[in-house]
Structures are given as C-alpha cells and as structure tokens.
C-alpha cells in the first residue's frame, strides 16, 4: 500500500539511515519531552494564579480548563463585550474566556447566549435560568472602606444588584459610633448571588470594596433557630 521506502528516500534526498532515525524519531521525541515538561511546569505555576471569573454556566475550573477549546464564540456572542479572552498571564488558561468585572460585568442576558454557543461543554448549554448561574459569590473584602459600613447612605451595590433583595439585602443596625444614626449594611447571600460582578463594577470606591470571588458552596445547616 505504501510506496515509498527507505531505499528510495536514500537515492533521492541523500538522507542516511542515521540522519533519518535522528531527525525522524529522536528530534520529535526530544521536542515532545521538552514540550511536555515545560507545559507541566507552566501548569503548576498557573494553579497559583488565583480566581478567574468565567462566563455563565462554566463548569468547575479544572474541568473548564480541560474542555475549553478557546474558540472565542462565547465572547463573540456576548452583546455587552463582557467576555475577554485571557492572554499569556493566565498560564495554561491562555485564550480562555473570562470577565473583568471592573471593565464590563456580566449583564445576565435572559437567554444566556454565551453558554448556548459553547461547542465543547465548558459552558453548560442547558442552563436556562439566570438565577441558577454560579460564576462566583460577591464578598465585601474591605469592610473599613465600605461607605455603607461606615454609616453613609451609599448602598450602590444593593441598588445595582440584578437580584436586589435576594442576593443582596440591607440590614440596618444601630451606629454605635455616633449613637444616633443607623448603619445600613449590605449583606450578600451566597445561595442567591450569581457572581455577575455588577456590584463590583458599581462600587464607588477607587478600589472596589466588594468583589466577586470563587463561589461559596452551600453547607449543611445544623444551626437553625
């Protein structure tokens, strides 16, 4: 079936058996081993790079990195341009989609076009309810600088939240510093927060005091009272 054999190659291209073996087997093998070890190192380092906010419907991060083929269809489907493709700084996550909330957060389109268009299952195409999205959970990371917690009537995160009164509620309490005022504290409920990042985008401080972090999984609750 195969017509060309070593003799012909020798005759016409002047490749010796040694050269053939060296270039045909050893060089690619050496390249593959080198490539493999580099990519393994690369992979270890990338684990420590922290949290990337993935588009709606993203499966668990390890599996997401396994399934994403970096085709960019989700980013093209996003009408707000929220989804960016990561560059080299993402390590093995290079070319994967993520959302930079401080630039453009996810606006939670009701038909979730990004997840629908994903070919490989990295985003769950069957997701059809925006309240079931779990990209992450918003957390107030800097309580000292939160204007609401300092007793001012800010509450911008609460007003902007697409799941207002579900994902973020306002819980007033007595302001012990002044003794006469209230503190209107924004409280995030991890079981409702979808992690869209609109609160982080809306935070009025130069550095957002509320940020979306990795989703907090639900815990069994033995402490009802």
């Amino acid at each position: 079936m195969r017509y060309y054999h070593l003799n012909n190659l020798n005759q016409h291209t002047g490749i010796s058996r040694r050269r053939f073996l060296k270039d045909g087997m050893l060089v690619p093998l050496a390249l593959a081993v080198a490539g493999g070890s580099i990519s393994t190192l690369f992979l270890r380092r990338a684990d420590a790079r922290g949290f990337y906010l993935r588009p709606p419907g993203a499966v668990e991060e390890t599996r997401f990195l396994a399934a994403c083929v970096k085709c960019g269809k989700c980013a093209q489907a996003c009408p707000y341009g929220s989804i960016k493709m990561a560059g080299g700084e993402a390590g093995i996550g290079i070319g994967t989609p993520h959302i930079v909330t401080r630039e453009v957060p996810c606006h939670l389109c009701p038909d979730i076009p990004c997840a629908k268009t994903c070919p490989s299952g990295a985003l769950d195409r069957k997701l059809n309810d925006i309240e079931k999205i779990r990209m992450g959970t918003a957390v107030i990371i800097d309580r000292e600088n939160c204007l609401s917690l300092r007793g001012l009537r800010c509450e911008v995160c609460y007003r902007q939240c697409p799941l207002i009164d579900k994902a973020i509620t306002i819980e007033p309490r007595h302001n012990t510093r002044t003794g006469v005022h209230s503190i209107m504290e924004p409280v995030i409920h991890a079981d409702k927060c979808v992690g869209c990042g609109i609160c982080e985008n809306a935070c009025v401080r130069d550095k957002p005091v509320i940020r979306v972090l990795a989703a907090i999984p639900g815990q069994k609750d033995y402490y009802e009272f």
Binding site: R2, G72, Q76, S120
Partner: protein, 267 residues
C-alpha cells in the same frame, strides 16, 4: 493562459481569514475559529480539538462530535491535508517564510515529515495525562485566529517566532514536522481519493515540482518508481507542482490507481 490552481487557493486562504475576521464587521457569516466555529448556522469543529477536549474533560457533547465528524468527512473526501494547503493561515505564513527564505538564501535544513504524527500522538497522550487540551494552549493557529478575532497582538509573538525559525533555521518546520493538526490530516490524506496524478510519459525530470513542493519527499515514489499517483498523506494537495510542471505531467487524480507505469521513457 492555462488554468492555474494557485489563484483559487490564494482566494480560499484569504477568504478564510476574512471569515474569521467577519464578526468584527458585524457580519453574521462565521463565528469562532478553526478549533470550533459556526458557518451560516452549521457547527464545525476541528476533530483534534474535539479529541483533546473530550479526552481531557471526560465531557461528551454530541453536537461537538457531529461538528467534528462533518469536518473530518469534508477533508477525508477532499484530500486530508487540503486543510493545510487551502485553509490554514499558518500555511500561508509558511509560504511567506519560504519566499523570504529563498530571497535570503538561509534556513536550508529540513526535518522529517514523521514529526507531525509524533506531535499528534504526544498531543493526545499529554491531553489524557494532564487533563488539559495541550495543543490548544500552544496552537499558533488558535493564537493567530484569536488575534484576528479580538485584535489581540501580544500572542502574535509566538507566530512571529515560528516565522523567524522558518526563515533562519529550518524550512517550513512548523507545517512539515511539528503541527499535530497536520499529523491528523496526514492520516486522512493517506486514504483520501483526491490525489495528484503523475504521468511518466510526459515527465522530463526537470525537477521544478521538487523545487516548489513544501513536502518534496512525497514526489519521490512517483519520480523514482513511476507511481501514477502521489499516495503519501503528507501531500497538502496545494497544486503548486501541477501549476509549475512545464510538461503537464502532474494533474488531479481521482480515486486510486495502483498499477505501476512502465519504466521506459519515450525518447
């Protein structure tokens, strides 16, 4: 003015780049890139991207398999590495590097064509072992298409590096010896019915075809042993040898001809 393949091939190559760039101009013809895309609502996927993602993630998506099978069927019918010769932007880059290289007279080294199949095997093994679609991380094809789609520039350093190596060190090393996608289509090309045909009677042994062919090893069985078709899967079916042949000894062959022509050459 005789018929030439290269203007058609160049037009196809450029229209692929235009299609990848089309969403930038709000045209709804094509989404995605050559790893996975959607052309006029038809889902397409690179079979190797499908294999890597599925083996790495253990997630099976039926429509992804369907998209990969459509692409496999198209290239199986049209010649396997026709993907390389007619579609892939990296091949266009290697044609540019070849022009530069000839002008400068550098980078004469060539490496074995087996490299692509080694790369294919390593890609699949590493994808299973690491749980990461290994080639999709490094793919200059993905890097360059994302650079076109999203105006990214920095990742083009990788593509530039390949260009420099190809011009200075080894002739067309990416397409000839390193690309696992090429390795995959080589396997299809071995059984594909579209081949370059060869006529011993017409051939004058001028060697023009060997000069233009990116993978000139594939011509050896025909030129030396008078095989009536170029049977190697490494042939990219680019048609450059057909275009250049002054004696019209090379043409498009369909289906298989296994009979060996007589060795006598008419004077």
């Amino acid at each position: 003015m005789s018929f030439k393949w290269w203007p058609i091939r160049r037009a196809v190559q450029l229209s692929i780049i235009a299609l990848i760039a089309s969403p930038l101009f709000e045209l709804n013809l094509f989404n995605g890139n050559l790893a996975a895309g959607e052309l006029l609502g038809i889902k397409l996927a690179d079979p190797l991207a499908f294999l890597q993602a599925t083996l790495a993630s253990h997630l099976f998506i039926a429509s992804f398999l369907g998209a990969a099978l459509i692409v496999t069927a198209v290239y199986l019918a049209s010649g396997g590495r026709t993907f390389c010769g007619w579609v892939c932007p990296m091949y266009l880059l290697s044609e540019i590097s070849e022009k530069l290289r000839r002008r400068l007279g550098t980078g004469e080294r060539t490496y074995s064509l087996n490299g692509t199949r080694w790369a294919l095997a390593m890609t699949i093994i590493l994808s299973i072992l690491t749980g990461i679609p290994v080639f999709e991380i490094l793919s200059p094809l993905g890097v360059s298409s994302r650079a076109i789609m999203f105006n990214g520039r920095l990742p083009l350093l990788l593509v530039g590096a390949i260009l420099v190596v190809e011009v200075c060190v080894a002739r067309r090393i990416w397409c000839r010896s390193l690309c696992p996608v090429g390795g995959f289509y080589t396997l299809l090309g071995q059984i594909s019915p579209i081949r370059v045909s060869f006529s011993r009677e017409r051939c004058t042994d001028c060697g023009e075809c060997l000069r233009v062919c990116p993978v000139e090893e594939v011509l050896t069985p025909s030129l030396a042993d008078n095989m009536p078709q170029i049977t190697s899967g490494d042939c990219t079916r680019c048609g450059d040898c057909i275009d250049i042949c002054p004696a019209k000894a090379l043409g498009v062959g369909v289906w298989y001809t296994h009979s060996v022509q007589s060795k006598e050459v008419s004077p």
